[in-house]
Subunit: 402 residues, 2 copies
């Protein structure tokens, strides 16, 4: 499901593209109204755009497959998410700006709380502040700078999220998670998942043991849980493939990480949704392609809070006129996956998408919602084809064949 047009069709010039991602946008109906979160939300700006746009449903990975955030975004960026699958550790390391080198093994750590019996009591250590996170990471870096010939690096992400990087010779990324994904049980030990991974498994286990020793007197964050272990291999670059000066505007490091992985320039946003749009406005004409990310739909969906997810959607809708005022030639609005409030989790359901441009084929009575997008001109199609359409609408693809 990769982008399949021949590379030599891509032109050097054309329109400016904004890819606006509402994380976890797709949903499921509320039993009282029969309306999804997006359908229930008052979205006058999205509905006005939809009435003049090409609509459809984006399929993140494949029918029935629920994507993580990494595959969800790789698809949106035009990369087959199965072929280019990558662990969360690498995405987080890139997201916090760590200078990964090919072969580095990156691991996502959760700061966690173990009880007196060594069982997990809180998988997120009470969600510490970013300052507390930075203090603990400083302790760990000082206590565990190397392990058996491998260099060890720690970096703060947000709240309970930490990244661990191992750098050394012939490290293997084929290691199992230690996060048991539940409380009341002890963390798993590091298991090698492939032949030749035994040495790296032993190194990582020793690092985790040393971390436990370092944190033993902490009142809350007295351990870590490891997951998303993967090695860094550079990807074919987005700017080179699509001939686009591209940037990524996102508040959460993870999303900047995926974008950096494919060669977009990350723009750090520290405040909320207004600040995200302000970052888009700043230097807008210096880029051909802007990826802009809004997170709250996904978080409130995972909370199972219908009304809060509706409100999150409405906040993005209210900011849309500022995006439109910048005059992008192509405005794509979609999500990386669905996060239905009733499931409290990511899901496999296709995600509404609109592509607004002068070449759209709209349906006048359309609004932006699942039922309306299902009968849109784009049909249900792989997310990895969105970039083909974005380039086409921007008049950045030449004709194929005589």
């Amino acid at each position: 499901m990769d982008v399949t047009f021949p590379d030599d069709l891509v032109l050097d010039e054309g329109g400016r593209i904004v890819l606006l991602v509402m994380d976890g946008l797709g949903g499921l109906p509320h039993p009282d109204s029969g309306l999804t979160e997006l359908e229930a939300a008052a979205t006058p700006n999205l509905d006005r755009l939809a009435a003049g746009a090409s609509l459809g449903m984006s399929l993140p990975v494949d029918i029935g497959v629920t994507p993580g955030s990494g595959p969800g975004h790789l698809g949106l960026f035009g990369y087959d998410p199965v072929r280019y699958n990558i662990g969360r550790g690498v995405l987080s390391a890139l997201g916090v700006g760590f200078d990964l080198r090919p072969g580095d093994v990156a691991v996502r750590l959760n700061l966690a709380t173990l009880d007196a019996d060594g069982n997990v009591a809180d998988r997120r250590a009470g969600r510490p502040s970013d300052q507390e996170n930075a203090r603990l990471v400083g302790m760990l870096q000082e206590a565990v700078p190397r392990m058996r010939g491998a260099e060890v690096f720690f970096a703060s992400e947000k709240e309970h999220r930490v990244v661990l990087i191992l750098r050394g010779r012939e490290l293997s990324p084929h290691l199992g998670d230690t996060d048991p994904q539940q409380t009341g049980v002890p963390p798993h030990r590091v298991e090698p998942l492939a032949k030749g991974a035994e040495d790296t498994a032993a190194i990582l286990q020793d690092v985790l043991d040393a971390i436990r020793e370092t944190l033993r007197d902490e009142p809350v964050a007295n351990a870590v849980l490891a997951r998303g272990i993967d090695a860094y291999e550079p990807y074919p670059g987005f700017p080179e493939r699509f001939h686009l000066r591209a940037r990524a505007i996102a508040r959460y490091p993870m999303y900047r990480g995926v974008a950096r992985l494919v060669g977009m320039e990350p723009v750090v946003v520290t405040d909320g949704e207004e600040a995200t749009v302000a970052a888009l406005e700043d230097g807008f004409t210096d880029y051909d392609f802007h990826f802009i990310h809004f997170k709250a739909m996904d978080s409130r969906g995972e909370d199972g809070d219908f009304a809060a997810k509706v409100a999150a959607i409405e906040r993005v809708d209210a900011l849309l006129p500022r995006v439109e005022a910048l005059g992008p030639d192509v405005l794509v609005v979609t999500g990386d996956h669905s996060t239905p409030w009733s499931m409290k989790a990511h899901s496999w359901h296709p995600v509404p998408i609109l592509i607004a441009s002068a070449c759209a084929r709209p349906r006048r009575d359309a609004v932006f919602g699942e039922a309306s997008c299902m009968v849109g001109e784009l049909g249900t199609f792989p997310a990895a084809k969105i970039m083909s359409l974005a380039l086409a609408h921007a008049r950045r693809l030449s004709k194929f064949g005589a």
Copy 2:
């Protein structure tokens, strides 16, 4: 996206199929009405057919990819247009009936006008008459019969269009166009695009220089521009693959060329749309499959003339009863691509398709238009699968598996 059923499912007998192609059929809405060219046209016959037909949208090459006429028609004929991509020169040579041999390199030439500084003043030399074209081609053939061991052939297409064929040993088709696609600049020199193409590039450049010398005293057509350079390799035959005695009825040589490439018998039509239908009526029962081509929708779309494209669609609609009166078992009506009036060019948008047969699954309120076809039973599907459906509706495919 090739036809994917096993070859041994194809039966030797079954219904008669007409594939009626309205070139550039798909469109985009007029802002006043919100209706596309096809939706705005008064098409009582197509609408009556649609109400009893299977409807859908045909995707010519892939999502977001704009096809040229060659790939657009190869798809309709059941050939993956990416795998079987071919240069316009070969299509034109086949279209004018030139007896191409494997390895021949064919080049599309435009008769053109250069100014006193050698810059392109008119890429089409004022669109000369076919008689003038024939006179110039005669001059060229006499002046340049060979070049450095290669035989050189010229053939008239229409107006400013000429085909050049090089025949010799180990010729390479990997040569760049000399047509700069704009005025006010000189033609490009012939560039080799692959290793081993240097000799052929030099031969073609010498041919073009000799042409320039021959035409130097012509008042208008004093040069040529070369493009669409490709070598001829025979395709797997359409009659053999699909067990169909097949013919192609088209006024423009280009479309007969694509059909000949896959082994259909070309039927030359010199007059307009009525003559095209008359050619279909003549000897109808001698064939199992008829490809019939109408061009005007595409031309008027490229002109950007909404009303004229609407009128072109209505003229084809008015001729439909004569096609129906022949009693084909399967009548497929679609286009090779969209040519929206508002873009004045081919585009990537899927194309409405109807398949009328006794096995159709219709929607009673359906009409033939983009919005109606989008929600038809066929969905949006690759053009290269149309032949699978045509054969199935003609009861020419046996059951797969026990």
